[in-house]
Symmetry: C2
DNA sequence: GTCTATAACCGGATAGAC
DNA sequence: GTCTATCCGGTTATAGAC
């Protein structure tokens, strides 16, 4: 890339400032009022921009949600870095990572429901199974690859190949449970995470049993066929 | 209930006619154009009613979808009745039942995506985990209880208790896969159904193995705790 | 050519007259 | 129970400002 001329820098700067103001206003309002109750007009107003400007930077309200996701993903990464650097036990790493997801998302709990539904829509650009959300999904899958790789667990190759993606799916399921969780401090979700994390690691061990060989192959084949589009 | 007076009958009749016309117009249009492309105004127009009338009978567009579900559920029941009366093998019963779901829903495949997302929204009255959709969900769970009960399989009591609900969840997962399936004749979904139905029954058998006792207890406890609100 | 602003459009939902 | 008129908010068109 060539070095930008002063003019280009200025132009970009101005755009970036507006963009950042709109995004920040959106993130605030989503947290304050929820996704549906936040109007594009309100976002523009708080950002000191016009409605047209908002649409210049973000093609739709949904695209603002995508940024919202990226934002929480980065908070999540920062939150678990020390734990991943220290901890070697796979169960602990998995539990810690998924616990951190829900803790990071806690401030947005009230918003999460309506957001989840837009995301679940296959025709939405935000759908995690394809399209605009792909880069972010791949980052999360890579994170789970790191959770496994940094542990002292020995995972057979055929399982290791599919595991990160499966754990990403597992995380999504936990998040859906968390959305419904009305318990104080979201305690029930944390319990379910502890229980499932142990269970998953236990099942990984059991997968080596001769009686389970057949089912293991079938399950892996199934996941593979489901994933490859 | 007291016997209705002629006047009341007439009143009800007239209401029922309008209601039926609106519903039928909605079902037709959903199939023709999809959920989002169908406007409430178009539904009213085709039904020969006014917009206000439509809202008199159905509090929202989403509530029309609920009726749409009930409609397909009844088609599904009718489609599998002969098979369930004849077949005793659990794998076959399960496969047949779930295959029939996607076959029944096939005419609505294009619509299904956007509908699924409204349904996934926890705050939607249509959300299958609670609220308005509860009666229908219970009917589907009861159907899977019947799938199990009518088979010659011996299922341990602790598993049998949770199995119908789990199979309902399994059906939902299949439907979500089916929504994304672009293969001709939706062949991939049918393959996945065959594979998973066999796998599920196989795992039910394996659950009796002593090594799996611990995990089995944990899984059942988990499902139980997740389900009871 | 990049950004901002205003004025529509469209469709789900509601109010209230009849 | 039916209708018309209206609101409201996501989105789009487009005119102008830098």
């Amino acid at each position: 890339m060539a070095i930008a001329s002063p003019q280009e820098i200025k132009r970009t700067r101005r755009g970036e400032t507006s963009r950042a103001a709109i995004l920040s206003a959106a993130l605030d309002l989503f947290q304050e009022r929820g996704y549906e109750a936040t109007t594009m007009r309100a976002i523009a107003e708080r950002a000191g921009a016009s409605l047209g400007s908002s649409y210049h930077y973000f093609p739709s309200k949904e695209h603002l949600v995508l940024e919202f996701y990226r934002h929480t993903h980065e908070l999540h990464l920062a939150a678990i870095a020390p734990m991943l650097a220290r901890e070697k036990d796979l169960t602990s790493r998995l539990r810690g990572t998924v616990r951190a997801v829900v803790v990071t998302c806690e401030p947005f709990h009230a918003v999460a429901g309506s957001i989840f539904s837009t995301v679940a829509n296959p025709s939405s650009p935000l759908n995690p199974f394809g399209g605009a959300a792909k880069p972010l999904r791949e980052e999360v899958v890579a994170l789970y690859a790191e959770v496994i790789k940094g542990s002292d667990a020995r995972i057979p190759g055929d399982i290791a190949e599919m595991l990160p993606l499966t754990l990403w799916l597992y995380q999504m399921a936990i998040l859906y449970f968390w959305i419904f969780d009305k318990s104080p401090g979201r305690l029930r979700t944390l319990e379910v995470i502890d229980e499932t994390a142990e269970l998953i690691v236990r099942l990984l061990t059991l997968a080596n049993l001769p009686v389970l060989r057949g089912s293991r192959k079938r399950i892996l084949g199934l996941i593979r066929s489901v994933v490859e589009h």
